[in-house]
Symmetry: C2
Subunit: 386 residues, 2 copies
């Protein structure tokens, strides 16, 4: 199968591209390099050193003999989008190429507008390119479990059967997320479902939980194949950040009371879920939604898992919550679709966090401690940070 | 009350500005003039001659003695948005300033991207400006009944009580609309509801039906105060278009079988609804949704009303539907909120369509017949029309 990975230079895009290639697919990656620009902007960087996209692709070919086609360009540039999709002629497109940090989208007006414009327009360009070039291409789009917010009813996989005044319909699951980033993904989902209706597109929307871990079978092959690991308060996600704080001897910083519950999954499950979605395409006209998460924990529970796993003293501190979110809420979500396709989840309780602690230990000198404290406050509506 | 009308040069923005001014409010209008640019682009134009925004405002002051403050600028320009809102210091902002034609958004990729970017970013800029300048400002935002699509359950006013697996929540009403334009308004609604949660904004989202009519108490005062009347297949809305076809001796063109049902209202009710919303603000943090429509008819029923009202021979023709939409569907919607605030609807059955026929008759020579046939096809995914 020919698979084009958009955003193939990112934390998950790169391991996914290698994983799909190693399982026999012809893989191409497109990336505009903007994730590395955010690092320059924020003064942050990956804890683990990473190679440039070209060097990674070359190293992967040296190590495995498998070629990954490499395209440098931006989905906001429609001609680039059409040329890449037309040139590579994929059977499936895996779309990771969006600004993916909630705090980044909440910095100020400019970052909110950037996030929504970049994500929505990029996805519209991909939809139109598929519509024109080949409507059989299966689009596997990364969404997030955060799109749902914290409803007081169980979260289903994208659709909900509703009975109201004695009548019944299958509706898009109503969403009420917690940042302009998450909202951009809600907007994408609505646009994509429409594309399935009017053009008969095939779309799988993967509502992914918070990913933890940094190693997959392929990244472990050699250091040049490593993927990034973010520890800063803007791009660092919660479990990874806790692991890094533990190794550094810093208290694990829980926002608010810590009873907020979130869906999570292991990075090794991410790459497998994407493979399963690609190899079992949605039907023509089908807007298919999978909840790509295997477990859920409260922030406090996540902190305790890290505290208990780490072979040393670990404290937990509770910061004033910089986000506006409900802390005590119902949380139950369906996640049977990917498991019925064959996913065998790696559960947090069985994960060797020690392996991750070792990786962090090796690179602990690269951490800038100033970047760990949250500086973006949801209650502010700032015009421009500068 | 100080009320700023964004998009105050448009079909409804201009009559609304005059209506609010005539009822004792201090009114300002902001417009970027882009609606007149669309006319240049499409070769279309208002059936009724209209003055420039400056000339209209001047004429209104001559006729009534009331001053309307006039700002020329674009909501995509954040500085302009902040300066206008900061300078005028409104108590309420009425936001009509969006690209508002479904067919225009479906012309090609460029027009879809333009529509979503323009509408979403403009509204984000207004939200941020209110967030920074004065969070007490009440935002009255024009949405559309088309956002809901045609669900198989009754349409409520923005929110829905759902029971699922024995648990209950009040959720945003799930929407599945039929164009990239309608989707842009769905995206706005999600962003605005978030703004109410995080910044305590006051928002009223008016999900408006298809407006018909061209005259209000103020537009009738003298010809320089007229508002536009669109007859082309891109910007002309269905009832107005039928009235024009009747006068021109052309068959009324129904798309598809004509059993598609749509919510409608009289232009005189639009201006009154906006007044009622402004004068009874939403609470701080409240995302309030009103269904601003008074009746619903199938396209076939609308055609028959026009056929029966016109004092001459009128035929009805059925065109292949250029849109992708369900033709036979349930349609029932709640519209009690505005009536409970005091709206006394003008119903289509009691409307003097003859008055409208006279207006059209006076300007019939201005019609370019080529613009009446639909040329935008929902099934195409064209990169660029040119």
């Amino acid at each position: 199968m020919r698979i084009l990975v958009l955003g193939g230079d990112g934390y998950l895009g790169w391991p996914t591209a290698m994983y799909l290639s190693a399982r026999g697919h012809d893989v191409g990656v497109l990336d505009n390099g903007v994730r590395r620009q955010y690092d320059h902007e924020l003064g942050s960087g990956s804890l683990v050193p990473i190679e440039s996209l070209r060097a990674r692709v070359k190293a992967f070919e040296e190590v495995t003999g498998d070629h990954i086609a490499c395209y440098l360009g931006d989905l906001m540039d429609a001609e680039c989008t059409y040329d890449t999709i037309g040139g590579f002629a994929p059977d499936a497109i895996v779309h990771f190429a969006e600004q993916r940090a909630a705090p980044y989208s909440m910095i100020d007006r400019k970052h909110a507008v950037y996030t929504q414009t970049n994500n929505i327009v990029g996805t519209l360009n991909v939809m139109y390119a598929i519509g024109e070039i080949n409507r059989d291409i299966h689009l596997v789009k990364l969404g997030t479990m955060g799109e749902y917010g914290t409803p007081n009813i169980d979260i289903e996989e994208g659709w909900l059967e509703v009975t109201h005044n004695g009548r019944t319909d299958r509706v898009l699951y109503p969403k009420r997320p917690g940042s302009f980033y998450h909202l951009s993904k809600v907007h994408d989902s609505h646009n994509l479902e429409f594309g399935c209706r009017i053009w008969g597109l095939r779309v799988t929307d993967l509502n992914q939980g918070i990913v933890y871990g940094q190693q997959t079978e392929e990244t472990e092959l050699e250091p040049r194949l490593a993927t990034r690991l973010d520890y800063d308060a803007v791009f660092g996600t919660v479990l990874n950040r806790f692991a890094i704080q533990a190794v550094l001897g810093l208290p694990l910083s829980v926002y608010g009371g810590g009873s907020q519950t979130r869906a999570v999954l292991d990075i090794r499950d991410t790459v497998e879920c994407v493979r399963l979605a690609c190899e079992t395409p949605a039907d023509r006209g089908e807007f298919r939604v999978f909840n790509q998460a295997t477990e859920s924990f409260s922030l406090q529970e996540m902190a305790k898992v890290v505290q208990n796993s780490y072979p040393g003293q670990v404290d937990i501190e509770y910061l004033d919550n910089p986000r506006v979110e409900i802390e005590n809420h119902h949380y139950a979500f369906t996640h049977t679709a990917l498991e019925s396709l064959g996913l065998k989840p790696h559960l947090l309780s069985e994960t060797l966090l020690h392996h991750m602690f070792d990786v962090i230990e090796r690179h602990r000198d690269r951490v800038d401690h100033d970047l760990l404290a949250p500086t973006v406050n949801w209650r502010q509506s700032t015009r421009s940070r500068s």
